[in-house]
Amino acid sequence: MRAYPRCAEESGFVSHHQYLEEYNPMKKSLSLLGCALGASLLFSHTAAAQDCETITLGSAISLTGKYATNGIHAKNGYEFAIQKIKDAGGVQFGDKCYNFNVIYYDDESKGDRGATLAERLINQDKVQYMLGPYSSGLTKAIAPVTEKYQIPMVEAEGASRSLFNQGYKYLFAVLSTSEQYLASAVTLAAEKADDPSKVKVAVAVENDPFSLDIRAGVLEDAAKFDMQVVIDEQLPRDLSDMSAILTKVKLLKPDLLIVSGHSKGAATAVRQIGEQKIDSPMVAITHCEAADVVGNFGAAANDILCSTQWAETLTYEDPLFGSAANYEKEFKEAFPEYKDKSVPYQVAQASAAVYVFKDAFERAASLDKEAVRDAIAATDMMTFYGGIKFSEFGNNIAKPMVLRQIQDGEYNVVAPSEFASHPLNWPRTPQ
């Protein structure tokens, strides 16, 4: 079934160097164009490389559209893990070894496109196992399809809790659900306050499944402490100015300001918080690393709290990738464009998803998708990314969220306390 030559298909076969080049943003477009032509060439190149057989995974991922940056992070994470597994001798069970190969399609950051592509991967490309797309919204669009066809999907980028109350049996997420992202900030604020019920909270999140879930988590925890929510607003998807909200922040003086809206939300928030000299004692946002707020806004980002699924300073490790720090080092070597910034957790969790598949295949010792599904469901492992163990609903319950604070341009873990490397700066000192 090769009716559609697929452009990115060969990346599983491509030598390391080539796929690095493919995701150099400026060259990306050119190489995408050329890849159809290059496919046959690459094919011959791989024949001699390994004797392992191939396990084909499918993924619709955002290569264009508003999630493209994070989509490419995820793809890089997948590719890095695949290469690592290959270098380590592949997935081994029975007497054979297998390498992963991923068929990618571009979902353009659009849900209906993602669902269509998932159908295509399953029906036309006969893919039996899927890796997730980027963002909760896309995962929500694709999960019903994989569920319908009973295709196990391990996803790494869809965190919304609403994914895990549908009774899905074939959906597994290695990351923590999003209501936990900033909930620990609420706890921190409560710890710092003399009387938690006096704490005023302001919430401004994007109007998408992921961020709305963050909001739900914050509101729940705030309710637990009986805090007052003084601002509760949604950001538009094409956000470029949030001074209207920040004006209210100035008036109502919340003790905790929560902002979430992917990279653009982070960028806009940090910039305008600096400009308008917002002096809330605690500001917590998501996607700091993805938006590179330190690099872009420097001192304006000081003392801002950033939630993260993973940090390279954590003490997790596994036999394949080594420690978290080692993962970061090797990944930067393989993908030099990340050299000057910290590796976003979106990359790490994508690699972890592939790792879950490797582990599950080896335990199942079978290519039967039901057996693999059951093996995934039984996963209980430690990785460089953290513990992975799925609840009956498919979300990972073995790994906490981490809160880091930007202290003098460095991301330092400040919560939860068992992983904290630095004390919290409170109240934050605005620039």
Binding site: Y4, T64, G111, D112, R120, N123, R161
Partner: protein, 343 residues
Amino acid sequence: MKKTLFYAVLLLITIAAPYLFPDYGTQLATLWLMIIVALTWDMTGGQMGYNSLGNIFFYGTGMYVAALITIGMVHPIGEYTDASRSELMLFTEGQYFTGLIVGSLGAGLFCALSAVIIGYITFGLRGPYFAIGTLGVAIAAGELVSNWDWVGGGQGIQLPVYPGDLDTGKVVFYFLFAITGVALFIFLKWLYSTRFGAAINAIRDDEEKAEAMGIHTMRYKLTAWALSAFFVGVAGGISAFQLIHFEPLETAYQTINLGIFMVVCVLLGGKGTLWGPVVGAILFHVIKEVTWNYLLGWQWVALGALIVVTVVYFQDGIMGWLMHNKPEWFGMRVEKKEQEGTA
């Protein structure tokens, strides 16, 4: 005789397609969706001269109405759409199919009604103002729905997965779209042969003259739009079930996707003809799928270029071009009496 044979063959292909190409079931269903939206757009755009950029409003509204009817018959909607709910809310097979049928038809009716209400205002606008005004309606609707928590807001809505066997499910959706499409085609073939058809053509060619002759222009415009909205609404309703999960801004009220595609399909195939939208939709769908596969990353640029080139250089479309260059194919002879053979 020849014509009967032609239609018989087409019908046969339509029925056989999902069995011949089982792997392409979803794409074939999407093709029918494109045909439906193109044909309905042409009702007002091609036949009546009112170029709407907002017909996607009916698609999105259809999705929501169908979903809300289905959910509302079984569960409280507000609880169902609450993302943080923890218990499962399920549907039985009977509830699913009742929802699918009642929801889609209800969506059609609701859209027809809303077309009358919106049209009553927008049909006072002419030319580009009508296009911009309808586009505005669609964008505003998407924005407002995305802020409306009761229907799920930016989270969107999740419908149950098709309860039966997978392959049957695919075929079922294909035929739901195909039957709607064929019904629409037959309906339009009849409609365009009536006095009503002539009247909306008159509105297109010279609305002032039509008014001066006492044609109920507003009534006909509203009727045409309502009929077109009905079919788009039904198609939207079916899409909601096919897609299972949808959200307001990018799936339901997708102004710059399907909302524009339907116009391009019609322009490509030929405005104001019965077959033009069908041919255009098929061609466009094929071009789109091919560019999506071969020009990964550049597909949108290619599509934008296709729109510009079609609009600027090839506005009569394929059918228009054929009619101009091969009039004999359409039985158009100057002396002959049979003149309405444009189909």
